[in-house]
């Protein structure tokens, strides 16, 4: 199957310098979707913590694959409410940088109607929105028309201190396996082919067949995530809209148990880390709670950086 982002590869006869110049001259392009929920909005600092789903094929080409969490953008409350409407993701455009033949993202922009907002990574926590849909974009772009996004070529592993259960592959389409469902369990497996596809959900309440392209929601995926199989990623959730002509998810990024109320934040090496605040809160002895939080904060920020 063809790859959409092959053009980001350095060819064998492509000198590093030429490759760098070619990449550094590129305009920004669409590489993922940003999801917003007002629960992630901080009025005090007018900051929105953003949950992102990246194109897996694109992500696998970066030196460090981008995590789902850890990103922030600043906007006023009114804009935040606008972004949170509709539950659909907004396209994220990235500007690439190549250095000695290696690929990095040097800028992130989220587009919403006629607005273009800067987004940046600071490792902040984000609660994944309950519903995650990929909305059909008005803007033509490669990522959007990529019907089959294959699993990442290279597995993306967690950082050195990330438990292995959070290892991931970065890809948001392709073969997948859905293992649980909020309103009754179902199991689904299979893979979509470009342009057409049928799917069947085996379970107590939902059976589904059809083409997976629709006018309103081209890619849809339900929401409150639960456990995952490491290989392909898992999603489960309640479908808010009764009709959409395709369901699909992304598998990737993570596995492991995941509960309502969990947070995802950007870990190292492009893997999002999850914490379950409630569980953590419940387990920690009172006298230690403060220490653990201080520890985590210090670890994430480092210390003495102002001494340089």
């Amino acid at each position: 199957m063809g790859r959409v982002f092959d053009w980001l590869d350095r060819k064998f006869d492509d000198p590093v310098r030429d490759y760098d110049i070619r990449i550094n001259s590129l305009a920004a392009f669409h590489a993922g979707y940003a999801f917003f929920s007002l629960i992630n909005y901080e009025d005090d600092i007018s900051a929105f913590h953003v949950y992102n789903v990246w194109n897996g094929e694109f992500n696998s080409k970066l030196v460090s694959a981008l995590p789902a969490g850890g990103f922030m953008l600043h906007c006023d409350r009114r804009t935040a409410e606008l972004l949170s409407e509709g539950n659909a993701g907004y396209p994220v455009f990235v500007k690439l940088k190549a250095k000695r033949g290696r690929l990095y993202v040097t800028g992130f922009n989220v587009t919403c109607y006629d607005m273009v907002m800067d987004m940046y990574f600071n490792g902040c926590e984000v609660i994944p929105p309950e519903y995650v849909y990929f909305r059909r974009s008005e803007i033509p772009d490669d990522a959007h028309h990529n019907e089959v996004l294959l699993p990442a070529e290279v597995p993306v592993y967690g950082g050195s201190r990330i438990p292995s259960s959070f290892r991931a592959r970065g890809s948001y389409r392709g073969s997948y396996f859905i293992s649980s469902f909020m309103r009754g369990s179902f199991v689904r497996s299979g893979s979509f082919m470009r342009g057409s596809g049928s799917s069947r959900i085996f379970g107590s309440a939902y059976t589904f067949t059809g083409s997976y392209r629709s006018s309103s929601f081209e890619r849809a995926l339900g929401g409150s995530y639960r456990s995952g199989s490491f290989r392909l990623g898992i999603v489960s959730g309640s479908f808010r809209h009764g009709s959409f002509s395709g369901i699909l998810f992304n598998g990737s990024y993570y596995s492991g148990s995941y509960h309502r109320g969990s947070f995802v934040y950007g870990g190292g090496d492009g893997v999002s880390r999850y914490t379950d605040r409630e569980a953590e809160y419940y387990r920690e002895p009172d006298e230690n709670r403060g220490n653990y939080r201080v520890r985590r904060l210090i670890e994430e920020l480092g210390y003495g950086l102002d001494l340089i």
């Binding site: 000695r100 940046y120 597995p155 292995s164 492009g270 480092g302 210390y303 340089i308």
Partner: protein, 282 residues
């Protein structure tokens, strides 16, 4: 007081990384760390495996260590994905005590000899026994024949070894030997946190306690790390540099500026390193 660093590339390759490289912010931090250590404390050495040695040579960084670069070989039966810091243990085993082991992302800004006086073992700080990170050792699946030494007290608090000073050769040998033995004798696992920190951070204070030594810490409380003026530790902030190019650029420029103003010899070396090229003319 002599100090040393280590670079082990096997975890990088095991994760599917291509040609080994250090990112610009890693190089800038290392240069500053080495320069500051040499200026305030003493000679430095790098322990590196073959790929790291080749990389340091190719980048022109081989001669920044005044005690040279020494090759290390980590035993094949240690899983680099689980025990990603095993290189540190092998380096420590090869180094003669007393010595200071320094992580490549840690900078020591002052002379620490006074602080090391009278200490047998000194680390940057102690850790809480959080059961999620430091579970009951009985939960580790070990190969047949392995037993935890009876002298170990599992209630002893772990020690963070981003910086580690060991004065006693016997203790150092015992620690590295037990740590590597644990790595080699553990059954296959996908966990790359609890096993690693047990081998690195718990075995040390338990071995020390068994010998009757206390483990001292530069910072008695975690929160004091934010107030101290002795160390810079990039630690988890590397993930921000990984995905935030503005921060990365600002950080690298700050490092280069500091090198230029305070460590001119190292600045000359920095000028020859291609990875830092874009910051030198900024």
């Amino acid at each position: 007081m002599k100090g040393f660093y280590s670079l082990w590339t096997a975890p990088y390759f095991a994760k599917g990384g291509g040609e080994f490289h250090l990112e610009d912010y890693e190089i800038a931090t290392l240069l500053l760390s080495v320069a500051a250590y040499q200026a305030y404390n003493g000679e430095t050495r790098m322990y590196a495996d073959d790929a790291a040695c080749a990389y340091l040579k190719a980048e022109g960084m081989e001669d920044i260590f005044d005690r040279g670069v020494v090759r290390i070989e980590v035993p094949d039966d240690i899983d680099p994905l689980v025990y990603w810091a095993a290189g540190k243990m092998v380096a420590l085993k090869a180094e003669e005590a007393p010595s200071v082991m320094i992580d490549t992302d840690l900078i020591i800004w002052k002379n620490i000899e006074k602080e090391l006086k009278d200490a047998y073992v000194k680390v940057i700080h102690r850790e809480e026994l959080n059961p999620e990170i430091y579970p009951d050792p009985g939960s580790f699946a070990m190969k047949e024949g392995y037993e935890f030494p009876k002298s170990w007290d599992f209630k002893v608090l772990p020690a963070n070894t981003a910086l580690l000073y060991i004065a006693d050769q016997d203790l150092k040998d015992r620690y590295t030997c037990e740590s590597l033995r644990f790595m080699q004798m553990s059954e296959h696992t996908d966990d790359n946190l609890c096993h690693m920190v047990f081998a690195e951070q718990r075995i040390l204070p338990m071995c020390a306690a068994a010998k009757g030594y206390g483990v001292e810490a530069f910072c008695s409380d975690m929160w004091k790390l934010r107030e101290q003026s002795l160390f810079t530790h990039i630690w988890g902030h590397k993930s921000v540099f990984r995905f935030n190019m503005d921060e990365r650029r600002a950080f690298c420029r700050r490092c280069i500026k500091r090198l230029a103003s305070e460590f001119p010899m190292m600045y000359v070396k920095a000028r020859e390193i291609k990875e830092l090229e874009e910051y030198l003319n900024a």
